[in-house]
């Protein structure tokens, strides 16, 4: 094996793309399980997902070793670690909430798309983190961002199942009606808490890095917009009783805002936050 820096970078890329490919297969099998639960191949869905997670874990650990810092600097690192955490949360959460198993196809499809897009637009290059990243509050900020995105994805996964009206049968439980509304509300509420903590931790980090808690920067404003959108969603559920398909579409719309706020703003608008993210 070529252990030169170029060789290590190639191995890093290889692990990344192996994980992406396995996630793609797992996503397909989870979607097939929703529509064709009687096919024997769908029994492999969880095993392939396990293999994808293992490859993702190996890739992240190797990259961590190579870079000398946790995976939270470049876009590729952030997306890869978010997908890893999302899959871990999905696997653990469906033990307690079996209804969440139905969201696997949706979640893994989006994860594969994200990994593929970022993988083609970025490299596995490593860089030393700027000094402004040397604070625990950044770690808290990133983790709670990821947890919020995961909650938003799971809520939208339930919404997807609700909108498509799938009834797979077999052992897969699909939430319906009030149970689905309940789950969407609870995931949104918990995600809102994570989002609030993310904003608070981000403000503390911003003060460490730039000497001010809030500067109306693009990404800060968009995170506030995202917070307000989710506040609006919770108001519409609690006060106006939105449920069913209307709630499902609302959940999708909020997810689009969330993903744009977290990952898209730095691509479109100039931001002090984005200037630190290595491509």
């Amino acid at each position: 094996m070529n252990l030169s820096p170029a060789g290590l970078a190639d191995l890093d890329s290889l692990l990344y793309w192996v994980a992406t490919a396995l996630y793609a297969v797992a996503a397909s099998l989870h979607l097939l399980r929703l529509y064709f639960p009687e096919w024997r191949v769908v029994a492999w869905a969880d095993r392939i997902l396990g293999a994808a997670l293992a490859a993702n874990t190996a890739g992240l650990l190797f990259h961590w070793y190579r870079a000398g810092h946790a995976p939270y600097i470049s876009r590729l690192e952030v997306v890869s670690s978010t997908v890893w955490l999302a899959v871990v949360v999905f696997i653990l959460a469906r033990r307690w909430i079996p209804d969440l198993a139905a969201t696997g196809g949706f979640l893994l499809s989006l994860a594969t798309l994200a990994l593929g897009f970022v993988g083609t637009a970025s490299t596995t290059n490593v860089s030393e983190p700027p000094l402004s990243f040397a604070t625990v509050w950044l770690g808290i900020h990133v983790v709670f961002t990821q947890l919020f995105v995961i909650c938003a994805l799971l809520a939208s996964g339930i919404a997807y199942v609700e909108l498509t009206g799938i009834t797979p049968g077999g052992r897969l439980e699909v939430p319906r009606g009030r149970a689905a509304d309940d789950l969407i509300y609870r995931l949104t509420a918990v995600g809102f808490i994570f989002l609030t903590v993310m904003i608070i931790a981000g403000a503390i980090w911003a003060n460490h890095a730039w000497g001010r808690y809030w500067g109306w920067d693009s990404i800060e404003v968009w995170s506030l917009i995202c917070w307000l959108i989710y506040a609006l969603e919770l108001h519409l559920i609690r006060t106006f009783g939105w449920h069913g398909r209307r709630l499902a579409w609302l959940s999708f719309g909020a997810l689009v805002v969330a993903l744009f706020s977290m990952f898209g703003v730095v691509l479109v608008f100039p931001s002090i936050h984005g200037s630190y993210m290595v491509r």
């Binding site: 009030r178 460490h208 890095a209 730039w210 000497g211 109306w216 307000l228 006060t239």
Partner: protein, 494 residues
């Protein structure tokens, strides 16, 4: 009469702000206004150059945007008014929600007889009411409800989470107030220092001081004396880049100020600024000989409070030309290239600051770790880059370019925000109340057991009415399933 009219108007205003439609409209308005603030470059964050470029690129939109203060959205009076209305709406809703939470708690404490009409849900349990009642009570307690029972009549509830939402909104109202009060009380000032320079409060103005709410100048007695020294024999260590840090003498005490590690000084917070770099002093001397003022060796003190000066080379009375080139270094960005006119040579030269052979040896003085790369255009005899250390010179035609000195400069920010701890305490309070509301959704029920049948075949008819808050939509169905499960348990045990 006047008082009644005023009361009537007040009631109308309260009714208006109590409306969830108004709250949602205000939130939506805030979202739209914030979106404008992101789509249109803002003077404060993007700078005047970006704003001017946008104005030129959109001549049709320009008058509309200027009329609504779109280039200063977050400081515009209408935006501040919108935030104020949102705060008012939140306050009114909070008071309303607190009243409802008290009523829900009052229900829980009520010992009035339970009377359920025929509209209540029904199901049948095995055994007489006297037999079924303890099992039902046990089940309700296992579901996390508090239970009041009188014979075969039950009230059960969990209204803890009911308080979460109003207390969260109450926290938001306090945050609004703390932000306004904090803005009036806080201030910050920026000091620009070069190596060896001392900031003495009261002598020379600090730079960049601007507070929209509080135009009062900071009390000089509160400001510390700051002297910048850029030498790290004590602080040099592996994995640490002190070029983004300042060694200061603060009120006579040596302190290290690093990124992400602000210092507390006299109750103020001292931050290492984002803008820092190197000030290079170069001199162009005629005939290759140092003359007059330009012959002085060693760096010149630019004076207290004076910012680094950038520009081309300026003539001195002795015929030499002198210039200070300011290099800006943000985090790990490349040193910028500076182009300066060389008037006597009628050409330009580009200057770049590069790490020297001893760049990583942080125990050395700053000026020994960097070098100056000079490139003069091809029409000059010297057409290749030349690297100079401090004290070295370069011959250009009948002139000599001397690299006189290299000094570190930085911006330092002194600030005071006395209400910040309160703001963060309120923010964490809001998070805790959100968790309370989300994790403990309100559930209430009234339940009556009525005997049906006779003797050993007696059963209990359950009349049940439930109330479930958001997040507990499925509670009624789950409760019925659980009650029916009691029959299965009974069948198993018998």
């Amino acid at each position: 009469m006047v008082v009644n009219k005023a009361r009537g108007k007040l009631r109308t205003v309260v009714r208006l702000f109590r409306s969830p439609y108004v709250a949602i409209a205000l939130i939506a308005g805030f979202i739209i206004a914030s979106s404008v603030g992101v789509l249109v470059p803002q003077e404060k964050t993007s700078g005047t150059a970006a704003v001017e470029a946008f104005r030129k690129a959109h001549p049709v939109l320009r008058p509309v945007l200027e009329a609504v203060d779109a280039f200063r959205v977050f400081q515009a009076p209408w935006f501040i008014a919108l935030v104020g209305l949102l705060a008012l709406s939140t306050l009114v809703c909070t008071v309303d929600q607190l009243a409802r939470a008290r009523r829900a708690a009052a229900f829980a404490r009520s010992r009035a007889p339970v009377a359920l009409d025929s509209g209540a849900a029904e199901l049948i349990l095995h055994g007489s009411p006297e037999v079924a009642a303890p099992r039902v009570e046990g089940l309700l307690r296992r579901l996390g409800l508090r239970v009041w029972r009188s014979g075969a009549t039950f009230r059960a509830w969990n209204t803890t989470g009911r308080w979460g939402s109003p207390l969260f909104h109450f926290g938001l109202v306090l945050i609004f107030g703390a932000v306004v009060a904090g803005a009036a009380l806080q201030w910050s000032t920026t000091v620009v220092l070069t190596e060896g320079q001392t900031f003495v409060p009261g002598q020379g103005p600090p730079h960049g001081y601007d507070q929209p709410w509080n135009r009062q100048a900071p009390d000089p007695a509160r400001l510390p004396q700051l002297k910048l020294i850029k030498h790290y024999p004590r602080y040099a260590r592996r994995g640490y880049a002190p070029d983004a840090a300042s060694e200061l003498v603060v009120d006579g005490v040596p302190r290290l100020l690093r990124w992400g590690a602000p210092l507390s000084v006299r109750g103020l917070t001292l931050h290492q600024g984002r803008r820092y770099g190197a000030l290079v002093e170069v001199v162009l001397v005629p005939g290759g000989e140092s003359q007059g003022a330009a012959a002085q060796s060693g760096p010149r003190d630019p004076g207290p409070g004076a910012p680094p000066a950038f520009g081309g080379l300026y003539p001195l009375p002795d015929g030499s030309f002198h210039g200070g080139l300011v290099f800006l270094n943000q985090q790990d960005a490349e040193k910028q290239v500076r182009v300066a006119d060389l008037p006597p040579l009628r050409t330009t030269a580009s200057f770049r600051l590069v790490p020297g052979p001893k760049a990583g040896r942080y125990e050395l003085p700053f000026d020994r770790r960097f070098q100056l790369e000079v490139v003069v255009p091809p029409e000059s005899p010297q057409a290749r880059p030349v690297v100079l250390s401090v004290g070295e010179s370069l011959t250009l035609a009948r002139w000599r370019l001397e690299f006189r000195s290299l000094r570190y400069w930085t911006t330092l920010t002194l600030s005071a925000a006395p209400l910040t701890p309160l703001l963060f305490a309120l923010a964490w309070w809001c998070v805790a109340m959100l968790a309370l509301a989300a994790l403990f959704p309100e559930r209430r029920l009234e339940l009556v057991l009525e005997g049906v049948g006779e003797g050993g075949a007696m059963r209990s008819r359950v009349r049940l009415r439930t109330w479930a808050g958001r997040g507990a939509f499925a509670f009624p169905e789950r409760l019925k399933e659980a009650l029916e499960g009691l029959n299965e348990e009974e069948a198993k045990t018998s």
